[in-house]
């Protein structure tokens, strides 16, 4: 791996981890925060027939989970393109079945 390539791989990874951390903080806030820790507090607000804390715990959190994964998929596809590491449309399935033994054999 040459200098330049490993440099961009490091940046790619950094951006990836930042994105994941951002999404996971939302994940934490809607489920553990709004659905558990602050559910009693939120229950004082009523939305239609639901108390808000109850609704977050039994409905809202799940909708946010779905949204988070699709945001992740979208952002990662953009990131892959930006760093030129996306898999091509016509690519055959990755036949990347190297095991540690294979790598050992390849390396001098």
């Amino acid at each position: 791996m040459n200098e330049d390539k490993s440099h961009s791989a490091r940046d790619y990874w950094k951006e990836n981890v930042t994105l994941v951390l951002k999404l996971l903080s939302v994940w934490f806030v809607v489920s553990y925060g709004m659905g558990i820790l602050f559910a009693d507090f939120l229950d004082q607000y009523q939305v239609f027939g639901f108390r808000l804390g109850f609704w977050m715990a039994q409905q809202g959190a799940i909708y946010v989970f779905v949204a988070l994964i699709f945001i992740y998929v979208r952002q990662m596809n953009i990131l892959d393109k930006k760093y030129g590491v996306e898999e091509d449309e016509g690519d055959t399935p990755i036949e990347d079945k190297k095991t540690i033994e294979d790598i050992r054999r390849e390396e001098p």
């Binding site: 715990a57 988070l68 994964i69």
Partner: protein, 583 residues
């Protein structure tokens, strides 16, 4: 047509479909058998993952559990969906890039150690067997209640079907049958939910229905009405939490992390062609799962309200037929404590322990029990598991809906059982034989081993279905706790923390495993009388032990890895490689 004829038609029809798919999708190579040749479309994989994931517990038991737990039921709803966020963001794409067949494969290669691989195989086998016994039991109960065959025959029929398509088709057969099973189970879950939502609130969308006003013209919101009735009967408000916040927190965490660490779910993401597909297919899977998981709490509150309205202060002799049907198979029990011929359903245990029936009949024709009275004037015992199956009958829906629910319950149980059996067979044929004991066998021989392993696993699972060990319900908590405290931390650090080495990983897995094991075994088996909040560590119930075990695993693994040598160069290269989709 009567319910039984319709049920035979629906169940027979779906079974014929599954067998047809199995013949069409026969596996030719180990690639086909373990990971469907990596050729599954992300949407198809999403459907298969959803069916794989949603077991008899999700379909049959979950809404019932929530119905009796109120807001705390959210631990299952959030726990069993939130895990997919972890899976999609932290594990699935990288494991797909790694590109092997199984979870122990990854553990063994990443930690350059057959000891680590062996620990992983043991955990995978334990988790999967625990789970599969429960599925077979579910099949047996459904058969005995609705097709009036005994539980043993029911289990044998279920086993034969799974046997046929798992042995023949491996992952390929299982994947495409699961696609069909998803369609059957989601249709079967939604139809009665929509019917009941319309009946009770006039709103055809159950997710909105349980936040709407009742259709009786009173202008009262359904949940307010339910809260009122619950308080009146001494249960406390339905929409209030009852568990301690920290315990809720830990149980939810254990279920979430456990979900992300369950081998039969992870392995589904090995079947898609690309890394990008692995991410997308986790998204599809969660949408498809969320359809059921957002409907379940609505079903739970409908069922609760209907149940209270139907049984509270009703004359026993005037109760509908379903009440007596479930009583006949031991899942409902009533004792007329105050001799007024009416059912008093209030908070508290009606009896001590599970109902034990005597042969005689009481003054009103009810079955007599030998249990002592519980500490309450409550007269009614209802098994939580019957709520979903009984719901269409409680709401008086047409017979074909009831038959559909039966076919759906079977689809849910069989699809999960098949996925688990595959994990068991791969662990044995691939991880144990090919990778450790007999590395020189050919692909064809390995395939034969894999088929034999499935066959044996089906037989063992069937045995446990017919003779369930009394602890199935207790050990399900253990399956999640184990996955949470062993697999998840090790895989996560294997991808995100390059410096993690074999010493750290093995020490972490073993300490997480032992802690969770001892905590659960102590409170569930050795000293069940101490199983209450004052004896638990930090107030965490055994169901939440996985969260503590996971934390311990992280700490021990990190600590040990600081004082032991870094992993070799080729492992560092491998980690670099799995972090990038194309390299």
């Amino acid at each position: 047509m009567d319910i039984q004829t319709l049920t035979y038609i629906f169940v027979g029809g779906t079974f014929a479909l599954y067998i047809g798919i199995a013949i069409w999708a026969k596996a030719g190579t180990t690639d086909d058998f373990y990971v469907a040749g990596h050729h599954v479309h992300p949407l198809a994989n999403g459907m298969a993952t959803a069916a794989d994931w949603m077991s008899a517990a999700s379909f049959i038991s979950m809404a019932g559990l929530i119905s009796f737990m109120g807001r705390d039921g959210a631990m299952y709803l959030m726990g069993w969906t939130g895990g997919y966020v972890l899976l999609a963001l932290l594990l699935a794409p990288y494991l797909r890039k790694f590109g092997q067949f199984t979870v122990p494969d990854f553990v063994g290669d990443r930690y350059y150690s057959n000891a680590a691989r062996t620990v992983a195989v043991i955990c995978a086998l334990f988790v999967s067997f625990t789970y599969v016994a429960g599925q077979m039991r579910g099949v047996g109960i459904v058969f005995s209640r609705f097709l009036e065959v005994d539980i043993t025959t029911g289990v044998i029929i279920g086993m034969s079907i799974v046997f046929f398509y798992a042995v023949l088709g491996g992952m390929k057969g299982i994947t495409y049958t699961q696609v069909a099973q998803y369609c059957v189970l989601i249709f079967a879950f939604m139809v009665p939910a929509i019917f009941i939502s319309i009946l009770m609130t006039g709103n055809p969308v159950p997710q909105l229905g349980f936040g709407s006003q009742l259709a009786d013209g009173s202008g009262t919101y359904l949940l307010d009405k339910l809260n009122g009735l619950s308080v009146e009967l001494g249960f406390g408000e339905y929409t209030d939490g009852r568990k301690s916040t920290f315990d809720m927190f830990c149980i939810t965490a254990a279920l979430m992390v456990g979900t992300a660490g369950l081998p039969h779910v992870i392995v589904r993401f090995f079947t898609v062609p690309k890394v990008r597909d692995a991410r997308l297919s986790a998204g599809y899977a969660l949408i498809l799962i969320a359809i059921l998981y957002t409907t379940a709490p609505a079903v739970a509150s409908f069922a609760r309200l209907n149940l209270i309205n139907t049984v509270s202060n009703a004359e026993y002799t005037a109760t509908p037929q379903w009440f007596k049907n479930w009583e006949a198979i031991d899942l409902i029990a009533w004792r007329d404590k105050n001799n007024d011929g009416k059912i008093q359903y209030i908070a508290g245990d009606a009896f001590v322990g599970k109902p034990a029936f005597d042969s005689g009949a009481g003054a009103n024709g009810e079955r007599l029990l030998s249990n002592q009275n519980g500490n309450s004037d409550n007269e009614l015992y209802i098994d939580q598991d019957i709520m979903v199956l009984a719901n269409p009958e409680i709401a008086d829906l047409p017979n074909w809906v009831i038959a559909l629910v039966v076919a759906g319950g079977l689809a849910a149980a069989l699809s999960t059982a098949a996925g688990l059996l595959l994990v068991i067979s791969t662990s044995v044929a691939h991880d144990l034989f090919k990778k450790m004991l007999l590395p020189d066998i050919t692909d064809k021989q390995e395939l034969t081993f894999a088929r034999m392993a499935v066959a044996i696993a089906v037989l063992i699972a069937g045995y446990f279905g017919i003779n369930p060990p009394g602890f199935v319900a207790q050990v399900v908590a253990f399956a999640f706790g184990l996955a949470a405290s062993t697999f998840f931390p090790i895989i996560l650090m294997g991808i995100f923390y390059k410096r993690m080495n074999k010493e750290g990983a093995i020490a972490g897995m073993i300490s997480g495993l032992l802690f969770t094991l001892i905590y659960i075994v102590y409170f569930k088996f050795i000293d069940p009388s101490a199983n209450n909040a004052s004896h638990w560590w930090f107030g965490v119930s055994p169901e939440g032990a996985g969260a503590l075990g996971m934390t311990l695993n992280f700490i021990v693994a990190y600590g040990v890895s600081r004082f032991t040598p870094a992993p070799p160069e080729e492992v560092l290269n491998m980690v670099e490689r799995i972090r990038v989709p194309r390299s």
